[in-house]
Symmetry: C2
Subunit: 242 residues, 2 copies
Amino acid sequence: MSNPTAAILIIGDEILSGRTREGNAHYLAGELVRAGIDLREIRVVGDVHETIVAAVKTLSAGHDHLFTSGGIGPTHDDITADAVAAAFGAPIGVRDDAREILARHYAARGLEFNEARLRMARIPEGARLIENPVSAAPGFSIGNCHVMAGVPNIFQAMVASVLPQLTGGAPLMSQSLTVMQAEASIADSFGVLAAEFPDLSMGSYPFVKDGAYGTNLVVRGTDAARIDAAMTKLCALYAEEA
Amino acid sequence: MSNPTAAILIIGDEILSGRTREGNAHYLAGELVRAGIDLREIRVVGDVHETIVAAVKTLSAGHDHLFTSGGIGPTHDDITADAVAAAFGAPIGVRDDAREILARHYAARGLEFNEARLRMARIPEGARLIENPVSAAPGFSIGNCHVMAGVPNIFQAMVASVLPQLTGGAPLMSQSLTVMQAEASIADSFGVLAAEFPDLSMGSYPFVKDGAYGTNLVVRGTDAARIDAAMTKLCALYAEEA
């Protein structure tokens, strides 16, 4: 049996203008090799509705999987969700499950859940959400198309959520813990704990918020009890709320 | 009047497998902005004849210019020239002008002009050669499609040859000098000389050959007499043959 095939669609004027050097395609290319999925094409297009719709139609029809990066943030030029919905002929609007994730995230951080941020809860009907352990706003999968954020560490976290589900493995569950410490200062202890749970996948995703360093720790696995056990140890280790 | 549009086609399995992180598209994106050409799409495909032919047809038809990178070297998987010829319906074979450039280059360096290297003289009928001041093997332009090497410093040198011709400027001429010294050790004196000829464009392209550092110095301009004057000074400065 031959490997499943894939394409990557990168969306963003900032790549075409040379302002940003794109790295997500290169990152995902490496992950796909490891997952046994053959990457056949990478395409970069600008923030133009018709162009994105056409590219999504062509690339999702021509491959087993299509991964997109970029254009799902809070600003007016973030038009990927609507374009993907159009490509799959799906209605799109603010969805309750996505709104709830965002509301909880902003409430916990004392941030205003404004109109712009509500935009990020626009998810096509029938799509499955992709977890974003870094900044909450979810990606989504519709049909064979997996829509992810362009910010590199969010993109990488979403790839970690999605990829294991595509390779025929058992459904993956995850829990996360936000620690307000720099990734480097917890790397050693986190590594020791990860070694105690070789059956789980543990990832760390650093961020900066209001000038302070923080790290989201994500535990992924197929056994809920094992994930609970790891989270209990993690919480004790860093003495913060999950 | 709106700007001319462009697409970039990157060809190579090594990009899709994640082995190589592509940088030519990012480089050219920046150059196109400066040249006033709107980049609309970047596409990366593998070393598959039909795929390259289809991409060249689509992208050259949909844009004022198409730039390709990769697949014009001496090995069996370098199939870009044949694919581009097929896309434009042009016959292709070893062309005398290209063979002569290569023969002169290899003879001067005591290198064998073997079958593999002769492959790099395969140029479609009607195409204009693009100068390669680094390693001689030329790129070419056919129709609105500009076919360049994937090795970054050769790609950049070819972009420098091609781009000024597309923006309605006077035809550009060039001469080059190979100096067997590291770029860093001649940078100061070369810079001083370049400042004496503000009407010319002078570029340096470092290479390593048999463990020794060398640099190709290229002088470009629209006035043949001025280029001759600069070359005379360059040859005197570095006391080598042009």
